[in-house]
Each structure stands twice: as C-alpha cells, then as structure tokens.
Amino acid sequence: MSKVSARAVAILKDGLWTNNVTLSQKLALCPLLAVTATATNGLGMGLATTAVLVMTNLAISLVRGVITPQVRIPAFILVIAGIVTLVDMAINAWGHELYKVLGLFIPLIVTNCVILGRAEAFASRNGPFYSAMDGLGMGVGFTFVLTGIGAVRELLGSGTLFANASLMLGAPMRFLETTVIPDYKGFLLMILPPGGFLVLGFALAAKRMLDTRDAKKRAAAASEPASACH
C-alpha cells in the first residue's frame, strides 16, 4: 500500500471509529439527540452533515494559507455558514422532496460544533485531499452513530425501522421500511429526548468497554516480548 493511501485509510478509520465524532469526541450531541427519534431522520441528518463536512473541510484547507491565526475563527464560521446556506438553497431548489423532510435540520448544521472542530483541528493544518478524506470519515462515522441510535430508539419506541424512508430518500428506498413488531403499542419514552440520552449513554459505555479491552490486549502484546528478554 502506498504511503498516500495508507494515510487516507488511517484518516478514514480515525473518523469512523477510533476518534468518532460522538462516541469518542463527544461532540454534536445536540443534533444527535434532536433528530434520532427514527433511523430515517438520523440517516438523513448524517448524510447532510457529511456532505457539508467534506465541502467545508475542502474549502478551509484550500484557503488555510491565506487566513491568519488571529482571524481564523470568524473566517471559518463565515466559510461554513456560507456553504451551509448554499447547500440549503440548492436542496430546496433541486431536491425539494428531501428538503421538506430535512429542511429543518440543514440550518442546524451551521451550529454543529463538529464542523468548526474539524476545520480547526484538521483542515487548517492539512492538504485538500486529506481534509476531504477527514470530512468523509468523520461524516460517515457520525452518520452511522445517528442511524444506529435512531434505529434502536425507533425499534423500541414504535416497533418499526426506517419508517417513511421512501418519503425522504425516494420510492426505491421503500424496501428499507419494515415493521419489526406488528401491533406494537409503542414505548413513548424512547422517542422523546430522554430515550436519546439513554441510548447514547449505552452507546458511549459500549465504545469505552471495547476501547479498554483493545488497550489491555495491546498492553499485553507489548509486555510479552519485553518479558522474553529476561
């Protein structure tokens, strides 16, 4: 594997799992709690955020040589807000069905701290290619957590999965819509914000457990050759 693609893979892995936006950095919890009542909404918000993140990372990486450290924060915010507004207008104009479902969430992306966080932590220090990769990795990592938490809440809350997916993603996606538990009476708590906190708590705990186990394994592997020296 060449050096370039090895680095790209490392960046993607970082975003998807190791340094996942929600599970590790614990950022963007507000949109997470707000939109994950169903898997469909989680997926939609995740995809929109991913698209914005790739574009903002790319744009900020391209202008990083021009921006001075003193004004970088307002300049980043300006770039991000501008791009989100353009995306908002574009979806409204050419993807109106999608806009009717996601419209409310798109302006919220501006306030998603992940966007500014990646601009500051990554895109302002790296080239355009790696920055776009970082945006993609972080975005997809965010999407899978949003969709996962949405799926758990929807399943426990209303007994369905990806309800109304065809409304948002178009008729071909109707196959995603499943009623897992027929005649389910519903468990309202899971759909309301407390359910979001509960599921998020379990997800964070699971991630930490896996990380601790990994760290132990690595420590054990590292200590073995050392003891062999004696």
Binding site: A37, L78, T85, L86, A93, H96, G157, S158, L188
Partner: protein, 216 residues
C-alpha cells in the same frame, strides 16, 4: 511570513475579503436557485390545495385567484376554486395550538359551508401520539369531510372526551382537540365572511373581516 500579515489592518482587510467573497457566492447562489425555489413553493401550495378541494370542483388556477381577509389572528389568504366562473369552493389556512406549538392546517369549504377536506400541513406534535393528525400517518383528519354547522351543531365540534363528535387518540387528547377547535374556528370564519370569500372581489384585494364569534 511577511510582516504585514501580523498587522491589525491586514486582519480587517482579510476578513473583509472573506465577507465579500461569501456575499458574492451567496447572491449568485440565490439568483440561481430563486426561480426553482419559487416553483417548488407554488407546487407545494397547489398540492395542499389539491388535497382539500376535489379537482371536479374547479377549472381555474387557485393560487392565482385569492382574496385576503384581515382577521384578529393576522391576514388570511383565501384561495378560490371556480367552476364556470362561479366560486365553487374556498381553501384557507387555520392555525391550531397543539401540544408542541402551532399546527398549520389547510381546509377546503364548499359554497354551502360544508367541509371538503382538512389537512395538517405542518406540526411538531409528539411522534407516535399527536402526529396521528397527519394524513400520512392515519386517516383521522379525513373524517372532517362532509361536516358543516348544518349537520354538526356547534356544541358537538369537540372530541368525544369533551362530549363532541370527533375521536381523540388514546394517550393524546390535546392535539385532536386543537385541530377540532381550529377547524371549527375556520368554519366560523367562513360563516362570518362568506359573502367576501365567495364574492367577486378583485384577486388579492384586502378587505377587513368581520370578527368571528368567540369560541369556548
């Protein structure tokens, strides 16, 4: 690094440059998307009017034939369906106060004051409970069709729990109650302003509305 990059004036110029670039990009984007957005908004309006007024009652473009009433709750735009020149039905928007904020409702009423259709077009009610007023979730809201003050006395415009004629949902009374109240107020608005709504006023002419009877 050049020395000027740390000078205060350069920071201002730099930010100014960014603002200028962003403004140009945004105004260009707006110019590019505005016609499509306008078309989409009009299509949305037409679609919601289509749902509350059957196509057999109209031959005109309802979005172009409007009259505006000034009510206590602000101006109400009335869209008029015509068949053979005569106004056959009107559609307008009413707002209910739901559990999660405003519930925006579009209702269609025929000349005689009977409801042709009611649709909730925007709401933020509890998913799985109050959102059953959405026609995409349940058929509840379609139950209004055919009702009028002639066949349903004003006292019976309430959910069954309150002694009225309309179903509530188990676990959610506030939302259907709000929708029933809003639709009732909509009919009162029609009753009080019938002449202006179906009369031949010039399109989009603003006329003061008679205050509808207070409800409770």
């Amino acid at each position: 690094m050049a020395i000027y990059r740390t000078a205060p004036w350069f920071q201002g110029v730099l930010l100014g440059g960014f603002c200028l670039t962003a403004s140009v990009a945004l105004s260009y984007g707006y110019k590019l998307t505005a016609p499509a957005i306008e078309r989409a908004a009009k299509a949305d309006l037409t679609a919601s009017l289509d749902q509350v007024i059957p196509a057999s009652l109209r031959t005109n473009d309802m979005t172009a034939d409007t009259v505006t009433l000034d009510t206590d709750g602000g101006p109400v735009t009335v869209y008029r369906a015509r068949k053979g020149g005569e106004v056959s039905a009107v559609a307008y928007r009413v707002i209910g106060k739901g559990y999660g904020g405003d519930i925006v409702i579009v209702m269609g009423v025929d000349r005689a004051g009977a409801i042709l259709g009611v649709r909730v077009v925007q709401h933020s009610e509890t998913p799985g409970l109050g959102d059953k007023v959405d026609a995409r979730k349940t058929d509840w809201v379609k139950g209004f069709a055919g009702h009028s003050f002639a066949n349903t006395p004003a006292a019976e415009w309430a959910v069954k729990k309150d002694g009225g004629r309309f179903d509530q949902f188990s676990g959610a009374t506030i939302t259907p109650r709000a929708v029933v109240k809003a639709v009732k107020e909509g009919l009162e608005l029609f009753a009080a302003n019938r002449a202006r709504m179906i009369g031949d006023a010039k399109p989009a002419a603003a006329v003061p509305a008679t205050k509808p009877r207070s409800v409770s």
